[in-house]
């Protein structure tokens, strides 16, 4: 009789242990995704700010990238002139998007649907706010 009780209690505790690790696994995934989304926004913003400063100092480059190893992300920043119908001269349009730094290593997985833009006016030295664009997938 005591042996049966012992086996029953042990089997019950297995269920609890299993439930414990399962709930932890799902919670980890659930809690990480919003954080990753915000991290992606931050790195895009920071890369764009660096690119704008670089443009102001030395004219900038058409394609640059900035690595964020602590977040496992690499941000590609593209710039090109943009015509505005309301202005007689062109602006510098900067566009950035993030990609995982390494596809093999488990770390940060982007959805690859977030990009950010900013513009820089070379004449007035004004930079616009960084704006985020989420691509709608159908």
């Amino acid at each position: 009789m005591p042996l049966i009780v012992a086996i029953l209690v042990l089997v019950g505790s297995f269920g609890l242990l299993l439930n414990n690790s399962l709930s932890h696994a799902t919670r980890s995934v659930e809690t990480q995704s919003p954080e990753k989304h915000y991290v992606e926004r931050h790195v895009l913003r920071e890369a764009l700010q660096a690119a704008v400063v670089n443009t102001a100092i030395e004219g900038g480059a058409r394609h640059v990238q900035m690595d964020f190893p602590e977040y496992g992300l690499r941000v590609h920043v593209l710039s090109r002139p943009e015509n505005m119908t309301v202005q007689p001269y062109t602006l510098v349009r900067l566009w950035a998007t993030a990609r995982p730094l390494s596809a093999v290593e488990y770390g940060f997985a982007t959805n690859n649907n977030l990009s950010a833009t900013a513009q820089y006016d070379v004449i007035t030295r004004l930079m616009s706010t960084v704006r985020f664009i989420e691509k709608q997938r159908s």
């Binding site: 660096a50 670089n54 640059v64 119908t85 030295r125 706010t129 691509k135």
Partner: protein, 174 residues
């Protein structure tokens, strides 16, 4: 002690142990989550405010970058604090590198960026595919020698510290 008694004791300990851990985690995790979210919100608020202040003071010789450092409340009406340390200025050239993309990948990115030109889309009503559409406003005027103020934001337990780059003037880098 018989083997049966040892087995019962073991089973009870395992049951209590896992149950206790589950209860503790259930209690603590929402609080930790809330702190993480608050920290993310703080980073965003700090960057917005610091960019605005640095932009407004671009021509002010008395403004210093280190004046933005200090201890801030994690959120309004929160007891938790975030420490902001000024870590000098970072040259943008040391952060950016040349792209190492293959030509096809670079072209794909170029293509993607071309269809997302919001300002032009507002002006001529075309060229926008997906995403949001807003009028873009200027926010910050860059000084004569722009550089990046570097701040380390660290605060709540378990969230890593975050480095913020704010556009500022080289002469205010102290």
């Amino acid at each position: 002690m018989s083997l049966v008694q040892v087995a019962i004791a073991l089973a009870l300990m395992a049951a209590f142990g896992s149950l206790t851990e589950l209860i503790i985690r259930n209690r603590l995790e929402p609080a930790q989550l809330a702190r993480d979210r608050a920290f993310i919100g703080f980073v965003e608020r700090f960057e917005d405010d610091a960019s605005q202040i640095a932009g407004e003071n671009a021509a002010n010789p008395n403004f210093t970058a280190s004046s933005l450092a200090g201890t801030y409340a994690l959120a309004p009406e929160s007891d938790a604090t975030v420490t902001v340390e000024f870590e000098g200025c970072t040259d943008s050239r040391s952060l950016l590198q040349a792209n190492v993309l293959s030509e096809s990948d670079a072209n794909a990115l170029e293509q993607e960026s071309t269809v997302q030109t919001p300002a032009e889309a507002v002006a001529v009503n075309q060229g926008q595919v997906g995403g949001i559409l807003l009028n873009e406003v200027y926010a910050q005027r860059l000084g004569n020698e722009p550089t990046l103020f570097t701040y380390r934001l660290s605060g709540t337990r378990s969230t890593r510290s975050h480095i913020s780059y704010i556009i500022g003037e080289q002469t205010q880098c102290r």
